[in-house]
């Protein structure tokens, strides 16, 4: 099999079947890295830009290797250089400004940025992050990037007539960044659009954003879309028309209640199913995760199933996050063996995925 997925099968993969294992993106930051940020932000501390860069490099290398030791087929650096999924990008896009924190709930706040001028591509966003991670990694590297709809929806818009227009402008910038990432060698890009789950009526706007994002991106670049925490019945099957290969969805947290949504209409793309709950600080057993993976096989055949956690795992204790990754990979490999041996009946069949569908 060729195409944008098969390139991620490790050379020494032990089984005929291949369930691609990966992460959504974020990973718990080592305590010393949090401490380094505090010192960097403390004007009185003797800790400058050079030391902070070193801390980010060290944390990025550490987590990338931790992912590899867990056996993941495609790895990330756990977003060690990023603080938050909107703020990080807003700091790099010309036109954004920060005015202060706003409430999300209780005493949890978000430094919600304002678009105060027309948005333009400023400094690079993720190319340096990718180049470093790719350099230290033996395995292929996935790049998660916050999508334009979420960047628009989670900002104040002072300039554009509508949020939709802002989203399209941002989509053009995301396209520019992805082109730069592809030039740097990236072959697996995941666009994160959590805001879609909360405003499902806007799925057509997200679709138009994605059309702009994929413009002139080569066919061998695998594109995924991550949507978490919402009512999928309000966006499925419409999202299947998006020009991406894979959908990464949160299902374990809801105890797979929404699985039937994806069976009512044939899942014609690759399915990256959340098999681990990112919000419980208990490591799921290999057996439990295997049962979850089998649920995914009710939706798509093995060659189109990706195995991943529900969402970024940055809020978990680090040893719990690592335990979850290890068990997830082991569960996937055992399922592959059972598939090889013909011990699992694959229910789902379906068309090959293509970005051009």
């Amino acid at each position: 099999m060729t195409g944008p997925r098969e390139q991620f099968r490790p050379e020494n993969h032990p089984n005929d079947h291949f369930l691609l294992t990966t992460v959504v993106g974020s990973y718990p930051k080592p305590k010393w890295h949090d401490r380094a940020r505090e010192m960097f932000e403390d004007e009185d501390a003797d800790f400058g830009a050079e030391e902070w860069e070193e801390s980010k490099d060290d944390a990025s290398r550490l987590v990338t290797h931790e992912h590899e030791r867990c056996g993941l087929d495609v790895v990330c650096d756990g977003e060690m250089r990023r603080n938050e999924m909107v703020e990080y990008f807003a700091h790099r896009i010309d036109g954004y400004e920060f005015n202060g924190r706003v409430k999300v709930w209780g005493h949890n706040y978000f430094d919600k940025p304002s678009v105060a001028d027309e948005v333009e591509y400023g400094e690079q966003w993720l190319v340096e992050e990718f180049e470093f991670t790719d350099e230290v990694a033996d395995r292929p590297v996935k790049v998660p990037i916050t999508g334009p709809y979420t960047l628009a929806n989670w900002s104040f818009n002072e300039v554009y007539d509508s949020e939709e227009q802002l989203a399209y402008e941002l989509a053009d910038l995301v396209n520019e960044e992805i082109e730069a990432l592809v030039d740097a060698g990236a072959r697996y890009i995941q666009i994160d659009e959590p805001a879609l789950a909360t405003t499902p009526d806007d799925h057509a706007i997200v679709g138009e954003c994605l059309e702009r994002i994929v413009d002139e991106i080569p066919d061998d670049v695998r594109l995924g879309l991550h949507v978490c925490y919402g009512d999928y019945s309000r966006i499925y099957p419409e999202i299947l028309d998006y020009p991406v290969h894979e959908y990464d969805l949160e299902l374990a947290n809801g105890d797979f209640d929404q699985l039937d949504v994806f069976k009512e209409h044939e899942f014609t793309k690759d399915f990256a199913m959340g098999v681990l709950d990112a919000h419980t600080a208990e490591v799921e057993s290999v057996e439990e995760i295997k049962d979850n993976i089998k649920k995914g096989l009710e939706v798509v055949p093995p060659e189109r199933l990706t195995v991943s956690p529900d969402c970024g795992v940055k809020l978990l204790p680090r040893e719990i996050a690592r335990g979850k990754m290890e068990n997830m990979v082991q569960a996937a490999r055992e399922i592959e063996q059972e598939l090889d041996a013909g011990e699992i009946d694959v229910v789902a069949t379906g068309a090959e995925a293509s970005a051009d569908d």
Partner: protein, 331 residues
């Protein structure tokens, strides 16, 4: 001659120092949210934060001063979330916003507990005149809550109205009462319920001698619901001209409105600060479109203001106050 009264719907952002101090004192988890029986250090922090936001309004020159509702961790659901007969459960989405509150589940009789009245008593110490009370309207409060005690929707709505009326009876003297009813827009009451909603609002409004404004936002209410709302004995209805000026004007053109009106002319959910002239233009536009000279126009933000960072929040208070002054100069 129309009197322009600069005011807000309350529910302010905490001053930044109070965000830090209170998150240290209370914590970040669901179980750490305000309970109604906070300890002395927390009460003291809220007292100081209240003084800050009252001064801010007075310095800006607003004609009505609100308490700020800084304790309302659960936004409009607050009066139930701290009530002894209510259990708070999971964190749920607050309308279509990226904000969350604890789901209040009513499990016993809703007797007035004076929680909001106590806040107003504290504010009254700081405000000589122009104190404005803020409450969720009975429909929105019942819409944000779950009932496991009264048994049916109608009985629950009546009980919530009775509870709010009981709260209002304990208030110190206030000039104006804003009843916030976004659910009238977001979740239109079904046939039959719309009439009952109007009666429920009446029940709360009749508990005070203050001027009562029923303020709606995030769009315009359905015209049939609006027609019923016009039957309620309130002094003004509030319209969100930021979210949907045309439909709101249509309702007023078709069904009229009270002698006073509240106009949401400043966007409570965007950092772009409106100039006093823009605010005046929006008021003038509404008056022209509805071809009416109102006794009083309450010039207000369309929504609660906790969505904003504090610097822009303060700028918007000033813009509202200056817009009202602009009118006085021209008059």
């Amino acid at each position: 001659m129309t009197q322009i009264v600069a005011t807000t719907p309350g529910l302010f952002p905490l001053p930044d120092w109070a965000k830090d101090e209170l998150s240290d004192l209370k914590g970040h988890q669901k179980t750490d949210l305000v309970s109604g029986d906070e300890g002395a250090a927390i009460v003291d922090a809220y007292d100081r934060a209240r003084e800050d936001v009252v001064s801010l309004q007075q310095d800006a020159g607003l004609d009505r001063v609100v308490e700020g509702q800084l304790r309302w961790d659960d936004m409009l659901a607050h009066p139930l979330a701290v009530h002894d007969s209510v259990e708070t459960r999971g964190i749920v989405r607050y309308y279509d916003n990226n904000n969350f509150y604890r789901e209040p589940v009513v499990q016993d009789d809703l007797t007035p507990d004076g929680d909001v009245a106590a806040e107003l008593d504290a504010a009254a110490e700081l405000v000589d005149d122009g104190l404005q009370a803020v409450l969720p309207g009975p429909y929105s409060l019942s819409d944000l809550a779950t009932d496991e005690h009264y048994g049916d929707e109608a009985a629950f709505l009546d009980a919530v109205a009775e509870f709010l009326a009981g709260e209002v009876e304990q208030f110190p003297e206030v000039e104006t009462l804003f009843l916030l009813e976004p659910s009238l827009v977001e979740n239109d009451p079904a046939d039959g319920t719309d009439e009952r909603v109007s009666e429920a609002i009446d029940a709360v409004a009749n508990a005070t001698d203050a001027d009562v404004v029923t303020h709606t936002y995030w769009g315009a209410i359905e015209e049939k619901t609006y027609a019923h709302l016009m039957d309620a004995d309130v002094d003004a209805i509030g319209f969100d001209l930021v979210a949907d000026h045309d439909s709101n004007v249509y309702n007023v053109q078709e069904y009229g409105t009270k002698d006073d009106v509240a106009l949401g002319v400043v966007d409570g959910q965007n950092t772009l600060v409106e100039s006093p002239e823009t605010i005046r233009d929006r008021i003038d536009w509404f008056e022209q479109q509805t071809n009416t000279v109102y006794d009083t126009v309450y010039a207000t933000a369309n929504t609660e203001l906790f969505y904003l960072p504090v610097n822009k929040f303060a700028d918007k208070l000033e813009a509202l106050a200056n817009a009202a002054d602009l009118e006085e100069v021209e008059a």
